[in-house]
């Protein structure tokens, strides 16, 4: 507790000293302000149930989120296989009707975006890394954190239950555009959509509980010396993404609730007068475009909810493994915050051809292309971090390089789609599919994989197998690139998305060969992911022990007294932070890294420097 802190030197506010002070070695900077918040009381579980199931330790909750998200992700993967089977080899799967195809498309999209990527980045990495990286004992509200996970669990259960209800899961496309979502003629327009809406509402409720935790932990529970500008970019990414989630999910919640009422109570929020099979339905006066606005007011920030944590994590991975400080840290932070803020002003670039007020095109094209600038800056800074670094060519770095290539590729095609009149011929074609899979499917996945190889030694205390990892990487990267790069060109010829069958239009027959190729690649890439699962299982038993700080990283998560860290993270006393987490290869220092907790006076110098 507080008696650990007995610094009583004269006040010299660390805060006014701006950022980092990285590398400077002046002894009077050793002083760190005393603690202003009391140490946190933690509830320690005793039974198996309270230790591993209804557990309040953020690290365990993070792993729980990770496992459940991965489980739903594998379901999403299998669904994508079935879709690709139909597209590449029509009729190969006998049971595949158009209804099934559209249900698989919808569930694949929704699972991957919300239940896999969002849950994995924020719930998984967020829970595990935030308290460790900012030097807290745990999340600030451990009980709420636990409830958050179990809400997510129920949300997933409800989502998967929709596979077994009459009519099957909804097949309305992941965007769930009304009116077709809740009308006959769309698969799963009865129970399916209802369960989808309920599951989303549960997810949002659960996520809000988790999100409050992440935000308050970052804002109010950092350790001594940890200023915002000394936080690793991982924390910045997850933090900003959580802010976006807290402000964007409300729109989804409202949309889902109104849709539920339209379905159950026959209200007409989104439903205009509709003539169906010769009969006028009991609806009238609603506006389908309103749902699209609400959906994308959530949907666009959602893209960055997935992307920003990836940006943050990859910055840290590149920095550690290139043994070089991240280039332009302040620019990186401001870019993350700026992208996050701007993401609330661009939503209708998903709706250029939706029939909204046509004048919106000018506004949204401009705001959208403004976002390209901070995003491009981040890319430059990543490669400038590699420049004159000392790059370890291990599996983690491979995933980072893969990320940069796929992300730049997807980012550039984003400029096509964001630029309003260029979007007109390309929207609703395979170009869009290729773009968003490249930029928010493959690119964040590369980061997740890199992060798994990077932090696995911390979670389990053992290294993952490098050789298997390299197979995993090359199969995934080359495979995924050869799926999505050619797919852009299908969009150019005009092949529309969400087509169950192409028939024999002249420009679509030329797509047949490519579809076969893409599907084959998709099967291989999907199968390659099981290498990782095998690797993890194998490593847990026989992997090489990692020991303390195996990557020679600087950030706090590697500096816990025990590996893997135990509940409470820090043992007797909380760490005290003296520098930013990117002090790699500081001139004059003996080692090529200086951990954040090393006070300036204790930095070991080279012989030359001392004399």
């Amino acid at each position: 507790m507080s008696e650990d802190y007995n610094d009583n030197k004269t006040i010299q506010a660390q805060s006014s000293e701006a950022i980092s002070g990285g590398g400077s070695v002046s002894p009077d900077l050793d002083y760190v302000r005393p603690a202003e918040i009391p140490d946190q009381d933690l509830y320690h579980g005793h039974s198996f149930l309270t230790k591993w199931v209804f557990c309040q330790d953020a690290k365990v909750i993070g792993v729980q989120y990770f496992l459940l998200a991965t489980f739903t992700g594998i379901i999403g993967l299998i669904l994508s296989w079935l879709m690709r089977l139909q597209l590449g080899f029509p009729g190969a799967a006998g049971f595949m009707t158009a209804e099934h195809y559209y249900q698989f498309v919808t569930m694949h999209g929704m699972i991957m975006v919300v239940y896999f990527l969002t849950a994995l980045f924020l719930g998984g990495f967020g829970n595990f890394l935030i308290p460790l990286m900012v030097g807290a004992r745990d999340m600030v509200f451990p009980y709420l954190n636990m409830v958050s996970f179990w809400s997510f669990f129920v949300a997933v259960a409800v989502l998967l239950a929709s596979f077994f209800v009459p009519g099957g899961p909804t097949g309305a496309g992941w965007t769930l555009y009304p009116p077709q979502t809740i009308l006959e003629g769309t698969p799963g327009s009865g129970w399916g959509i209802l369960l989808m809406c309920i599951s989303l509402i549960l997810f949002v409720a659960g996520f809000t509980m988790g999100g409050l935790n992440y935000l308050i932990t970052v804002l109010q529970a950092r350790t001594r010396g940890m200023t915002l500008m000394r936080m690793p970019l991982t924390v910045w990414g997850i933090f900003t993404a959580t802010v976006l989630a807290m402000l964007a999910f409300p729109a989804l919640l409202v949309g889902a609730l109104m849709m539920t009422l339209d379905k159950v109570l026959q209200t007409s929020f989104f439903m205009p007068t509709i003539l169906k099979a010769g009969e006028v339905l009991e609806y009238g006066g609603g506006s389908p475009i309103l749902f699209q606005h609400l959906f994308w007011f959530f949907g666009h920030p959602e893209v960055y909810i997935v992307a920003l944590p990836a940006f943050g994590i990859v910055s840290d991975l590149i920095s550690v493994h290139a043994r070089k400080n991240i280039f332009g840290y302040r620019m990186m932070v401001w870019a993350i915050v700026g992208i996050g803020a701007l993401s609330f002003f661009v939503w209708a670039h998903h709706m250029y051809v939706s029939g909204m007020n046509p004048w919106f095109g000018f506004f949204f094209a401009t705001t959208t292309l403004i976002i390209a600038v901070p995003t491009a800056m981040k890319v430059y800074n990543w490669i400038l971090t590699l420049w004159r670094g000392n790059i370890r060519m291990n599996v983690v770095m491979l995933w980072c390089l893969g990320f940069i290539i796929t992300f730049v590729n997807g980012g550039i095609t984003g400029i096509f789609l964001g630029n309003v009149s260029v979007d007109v011929p390309l929207s609703d074609t395979y170009f869009v599919i290729a773009h968003f899979h490249m930029v928010m499917g493959i690119a964040p996945l590369m980061v997740i994989m890199g992060a798994v190889y990077h932090w696995f030694p911390l979670v389990s205390g053992r290294f993952l197998d490098e050789k298997l990892g390299k197979w995993h990487f090359w199969l995934t990267f080359l495979g995924a690139y050869s799926i999505y790069f050619p797919m852009h060109y299908l969009g150019f010829i005009g092949v529309p998305r969400r087509y169950f069958e192409m028939y024999d239009s002249p420009y679509m027959t030329s797509a047949v060969g490519m579809n076969e190729f893409i599907s084959t690649a998709a099967f291989i890439v999907g199968a390659a992911q099981f290498i990782l699962i095998y690797n993890i299982i194998k490593t847990l038993k026989t992997g090489k022990p990692a020991g303390h700080n195996p990557w020679k990283a600087n950030s706090l998560e590697w500096l816990t007294p025990k590996v893997p860290p135990e509940h409470g993270n820090w043992g007797e006393r909380l760490p005290v932070v003296h520098r930013w987490p990117y002090d790699f290869s500081v001139p004059g220092a003996k080692e090529d890294f200086i951990p954040q907790t090393t006070p300036p006076s204790e930095v070991a110098h080279t012989e030359a420097e001392k004399t």
Partner: protein, 279 residues
């Protein structure tokens, strides 16, 4: 070493694929060549950035691979470099945005001489309505739609009487004559899209949306629905035939107008009544 080579091959392969690809856009058949040009421009600028960034990265991979006794450079920031890069990027973005916005300005402003076409969509098909002699379309109402009034034209609206009705998914258009497509849906979202014309817009139930183009190449084109509209989405096709003035006029004369339809129906009723009376 091999990492750099493989990554280089990936980039090289991408560029070669782009140059030699047999999959590229269909021959344009409308006035929206500007969209193609902007895409080409974006390809040059964006593709250039992509190749440059990746090649720089690959160079770093070759040059700065781990060596035991080498130290990285310690340089947290370089204000000048960052400033240059920011401005260069901004410049590039503006260069791409400007033509995009100019073409959009043309896209939303329909020329005065454009002929209107009412495209009515349902699950899963199309039909079309053209203005008659008066050059104006009558107002419509979904609740008016029935067998006698397939387009739901308001019977009181004088503009609607002479509207030409095409109860088929084949639409004929006159070459080099701008058309304003007015999209209307009676049930869910649809989108009337001909890849060769480049232009598209959703048909939204409850409102009427529009876009325009000027076909400039005679021929027959396939219409696709490109907004997901339920299980029949992929089969929702139509046809557009672009023809020269004379052929078009001939075709137009053969089509039935709303008043013809009403007259015919009354005729039919008369005939049937007579038939009934005879029996």
């Amino acid at each position: 070493m091999h990492v750099g080579i493989i990554l280089f091959l990936v980039i090289l392969g991408s560029v070669l694929f782009h140059i030699f690809t047999p999959w590229y856009w269909t021959d344009i058949a409308s006035n929206w060549g500007g969209m193609d040009d902007t895409i080409t421009l974006t390809f040059w600028v964006g593709g250039g950035v992509f190749v440059a960034v990746c090649l720089f990265m690959i160079y770093c991979v070759f040059k700065f691979s781990y060596k035991e006794n080498r130290r990285s450079e310690y340089k947290p920031e370089d204000k000048r470099l960052e400033k240059i890069l920011t401005w260069a990027t901004t410049l590039g973005v503006v260069a791409l945005l400007a033509p995009g916005l100019m073409i959009w300005n043309q896209y939303v402003n329909v020329p005065k001489n454009a002929r209107e076409v009412d495209v009515m969509a349902w699950q899963w098909g199309w039909q079309y309505r053209l203005p008659g002699e008066d050059g104006k379309l009558g107002t419509t109402k979904i609740t008016n739609i029935n067998d006698e009034n397939p387009f739901g034209i308001n019977p009181e609206d004088p503009f609607g009487k002479d509207d030409v009705m095409i109860q088929s998914d084949v639409l004929n258009l006159e070459n080099n004559q701008p058309v304003k497509i007015l999209l209307r849906s009676v049930d869910v979202l649809h989108n009337w899209y001909v890849p060769q014309f480049r232009a598209k817009m959703d048909a939204v139930p409850g409102i009427v949306t529009y876009y325009w183009f000027e076909p400039n190449k005679a021929g027959e084109y396939e219409v696709l629905c490109v907004e997901y509209c339920g299980v029949g989405h992929y089969a929702m096709r139509g046809t557009v035939i672009v023809q020269d003035n004379q052929e078009y006029e001939n075709w137009l004369k053969e089509q039935e107008t709303f008043s013809d339809l009403i007259a015919n129906q009354e005729n039919n009723i008369e005939i049937n009544k007579k038939k009934l009376a005879k029996k």
